[in-house]
Symmetry: none
Subunit: 245 residues, 4 copies
DNA sequence: GATGAATGAGTGTTCATTCAT
DNA sequence: GATGAATGAACACTCATTCAT
C-alpha cells in the first residue's frame, strides 16, 4: 500500500515527488501528442496551437515543459533514439555470432519502426533541429549505422556471413528497415511482429553463410517502451535537454 | 544579322518556336535549381526568393512559369517520376524472366535515386502538394511499388524467384533503394553505377531460385535523362499541369 | 521554544510588529533589486522573473508585496522622490538668501542623482506608470522644478542672483543635474561629493550677483537615505499606494 | 524644365532614378513617422502596426525599407546624429576662440534638440539597438561629448575661458542641452531660437573669461535639416545601413 | 516577360498576471 | 506566504502571392 497512507510520518517531500511525477507525465503526454501530429501532418504543418489544443491546454503552457518547438521535436526524436540504443545495448549484452546479432537487430529495429517515437528517428528532418541537436542526432544515426556494419563485419570474420561489402550491405538492410517507418500503418494488415519476422528472414537470407536453422533464437525481448527517463528528467527541468541553440 | 529580318521567306512560326524553346529552357532551369535547393535544405526552408536569386531573376518572375511554390515542387517530382516510368517502360518492352526484370529494375531504380529529380520522388513530402497533385503522386508511387511486386510475382510464377511474400519482399527491396535517395552524395566514395551493381546483387540474391550466372545481362540502357517534356509543355503553359488546387 | 507559547503575557502585537517589519524589509529588498535592474537594463527589458531570481524567490511571490510590475516601478520612483522632498524640506527649514538656498539644492540634488532611487526619478519613463501614478509623478517633478525656480526668483528679489529668465535658468540647472543620473557610475573617477561640489560652483557662478565667499556654507546634511517609510507601509499594504489603475 | 519632357532622348535609367527617389522619400516618411511615435509614446509601446497604420500601409511593407524595428530606431537616431555632425563640421570649418566655438555649438545643439531627430539622440535608449549599432551610437555620443570638452579646453588654452574642470563643465553644459530634448514641446511658449539664445548666454556666462560683447557672432547657420543622405541610400538598399545584428 | 512594392495570413515566442494547492 | 502551472494578450517577423507599371 502507498506509504503515504500507512506511514503517518511520511516525509514532507512526497508532495514534491508526486508533483514532479505529474510534471513528467504531462511532459510525456506532450511528446506523445506531438510525435503523432508531426508524423501525421509533418513538422512544419503542425502548429503549437494544434498540439496544445489536442492536449486541452494553451500554447504558452507548452513552454513550461519545452524551450520551443524544435526542442519538442528533438525530444520526440530522442525518445526514439533511446529505444534503439536500449535494443543495441541488449543485443551487445547477449552473445552470438555476427549473423545472430544482426538478425536480432533487424528484428528489433523493425519493431521500433512501428512505434511513433521510433519512426520519428527516420522521418524527422534533422535540419529542423538546432545545430547542436542536429549534431547529436546525426551522431546517433551514425552510431546505429555503425552497429549494423559492425555486426556484418563480425559475421564475416566469424564465418557466419558471406564475404561482401559491409558498408553497402548495412545501407541496404538499414534502408529497408527505415522505410518501414514510412509505410507502416497501425491499422494495416500486418502486425509489427509479422513484419519484423519476415524482414529478419528476407534481409539476411542473402547474407548468411548457411541458412538459419531456427528463427526463435533471433528474437529479442519486446522493445522496451519504458526506457528509463530518469536522466532526462533533471536535464530538462528548465534547461534544454543536453541541447542548446 | 538576325535571319528574321534578312530572310523574308523565313517561316513565321520560327520565332515562336524558339521563343517557346527559350521558355522551356528557363522553366527547366528553374526546376533544376529548385530541386537542388529543396533537397539541400528542405522544401519548407527554401524560399522562392532563394530560388529566384540563384537564377538571377526575381521572385515574381517565377510566376511566369509556375502557379506557385507547390507546383514547382510537383513538377520536380514529376520529372523524377518520368524517369522511373521510362525505366519501367523499357524493361516491360524487353523480355526476360521475373528475376531478370527485377534485377533490371533494381539496377535502374538505384541509378535514378542518385539523380536529383529521382531522389525527389522519395524525399519530397506529398502532403506539401495540392490534394489533386498529391493524389497523382501517390498513385504513381503505388504503380512503382506494384511493378516491383509484379516482377516478383512473375518470378515466382516462372520459377526464377523463390516462393515468398511478394508484398513484403517488394517493400524490402524498394525500401533499400529509396533509402539511397537519402544517403547518396554526389561527391561520395561510390559512383551510382557501383551502388546499382552492388544493390542488384545484394537485394536479389536471397530471392533468386538459382544464383545469377552473369551480371551484364541485368543492365539496362543508362537512364534517359532527357525524357521528352513535350507533353508537359502545353499542360503547364499557364494551367496547372494536369493538376488544380 | 517560541515565546508566543511559553509566555502567555507576551504582548500579542509583537509578533505582528516583527512580522510587519520583516515584510517591510522584504519589500524594500525587492525595490532595491528592482531599481538596480531597471536602471541597468531598462524597465522593459527586465522581467519579473529576473527580479525574483535575483532575490531567490519566485515571480508570484512578488505579488505579495506589489500589485504589479508598474507598481514596483512607481515605488522605486517614489523612494527617489522622497529623497528630494526631504532635501527640499530641510533647505526650506533653514534660512538663507536665494542663491544660498539654490546652492544647497544643487548640491544635495546632485548627490541624490548618484543614488539609484534618485536616478530613477529622471531615468524612468512616467508613461510606464498607471495614469494615476503618472499624474503623481508629473506633479512631483513639477514641484521640484518649481522649487528651483522659486529659489532663483527669491534670489533675484533679494539681490543675490542676477536678473534673468528664472524659468529657463531653472531648466538649465535642473537639466545639468538630471543628466548626472544618466552618466554617473558608481565606479567612476568622481565621487558624488566631488561632482556635487563642482556642479554647485559651475551651475551658479553665472547667476550669482557676487561670487560666493565660501563653499562650506552651501552644504546640507548628507542626503537622508533612510527617509521614513512609515506612511507608505499602510498605504501599500495591499492597496496601491495612493494610486489605482 | 524636367529633361524628361524636353529631351526626347532621355536616358532609359530615369524611371529607375525616379523610382529610387520615390523609395527614398517613402523611407524617410517612415522615419519621420516613426521618430514622432517613438518620442511620443516610447519605443516599446509603439508597435510596427501603429507606424504602418499612420502611413496608410501595412506592417510588412515596412520591411521593404528596414530590416526590423530596431533598424528603424537606429536610422532615426542616425538622422539626429548627422544633424549634430554637420553642425560640428561647420563650426570646425569656421574659426574663432574656444568660447566662440563653444557658444556656436551650444546654440546649434540647442536647436537640434528641438527637432524630432535631434531629440532622438538623447531620448532613445541605445540598449534597444543591436550590439553593433549600439556601439556606433555610443561612439557618436562620445565624439559629441569630446567636442564640447575640446572647445572648452581650447578656450582655456587661448584664454577665452576660465580655468576649470573641462570634463565636468562639458557634462554640465551637455546635460542642460540634452535635457531640452526631454522638455521641449513644439507648441510651448518658447521657440527653439529663443531657447538657444538664452541657453547660449546662460551656459557660458560662468565660463567666459570676459563677458561676450555681442551675441550675433555666436549664431551659426540654421541647422541643416537636409543633410545629404546619399551615402546612406546605397548602404540601406537592402542591407542594414552600416549595421548588422 | 519582368520588376518593385505591397499584402494577408500565419506562427513562434514572451511575459505579466492569476489561481489552485 | 509561497509555488508550480497555466493563461491571455500581444508582437515582431516571414513568405507566398498579387498587382501596377
Amino acid at each position: 500500500m502507498d506509504s503515504r497512507f500507512t506511514n503517518p510520518a511520511a516525509p514532507p517531500w512526497l508532495p514534491f515527488e508526486s508533483r514532479r511525477r505529474a510534471r513528467d507525465e504531462k511532459r510525456e503526454a506532450v511528446l506523445r501528442t506531438a510525435v503523432q501530429l508531426f508524423l501525421e501532418q509533418g513538422y512544419h504543418r503542425v502548429t503549437l496551437n494544434e498540439v496544445a489544443e489536442r492536449l486541452n491546454i494553451t500554447k504558452p503552457a507548452l513552454y513550461n515543459y519545452f524551450r520551443g518547438k524544435d526542442e519538442i521535436l528533438f525530444e520526440c526524436w530522442s525518445m526514439g533514439a533511446e529505444l534503439v540504443d536500449s535494443v543495441i545495448a541488449e543485443i551487445d549484452a547477449g552473445g552470438g555470432s555476427g549473423i545472430v546479432k544482426l538478425r536480432k537487430l533487424v528484428h528489433a529495429y523493425a519493431e521500433v519502426m512501428a512505434i511513433d517515437f521510433g519512426a520519428s528517428i527516420v522521418r524527422f528532418d534533422v535540419r529542423d533541429l538546432t545545430n547542436r541537436n542536429a549534431r547529436i542526432a546525426r551522431a546517433a544515426k551514425k552510431r546505429i549505422d555503425a552497429t549494423f556494419r559492425a555486426y556484418i563485419t563480425a559475421g564475416i570474420a566469424d564465418g557466419s556471413i558471406k564475404r561482401c561489402d559491409a558498408k553497402l550491405a548495412a545501407f541496404a538492410i538499414a534502408g529497408s528497415l527505415n522505410w518501414i517507418g514510412h509505410w507502416y500503418q497501425r491499422d494495416g494488415a500486418l502486425s509489427p511482429g509479422e513484419i519484423a519476422d519476415e524482414f529478419t528472414v528476407r534481409l539476411t537470407e542473402g547474407l548468411a553463410a548457411k541458412p538459419a536453422q531456427g528463427h526463435t533464437t533471433t528474437k529479442t525481448a519486446p522493445v522496451a517502451r519504458t526506457a528509463t527517463r530518469e536522466a532526462r528528467r533533471k536535464a530538462t527541468g528548465k534547461k534544454r535537454g543536453g541541447a542548446s541553440r
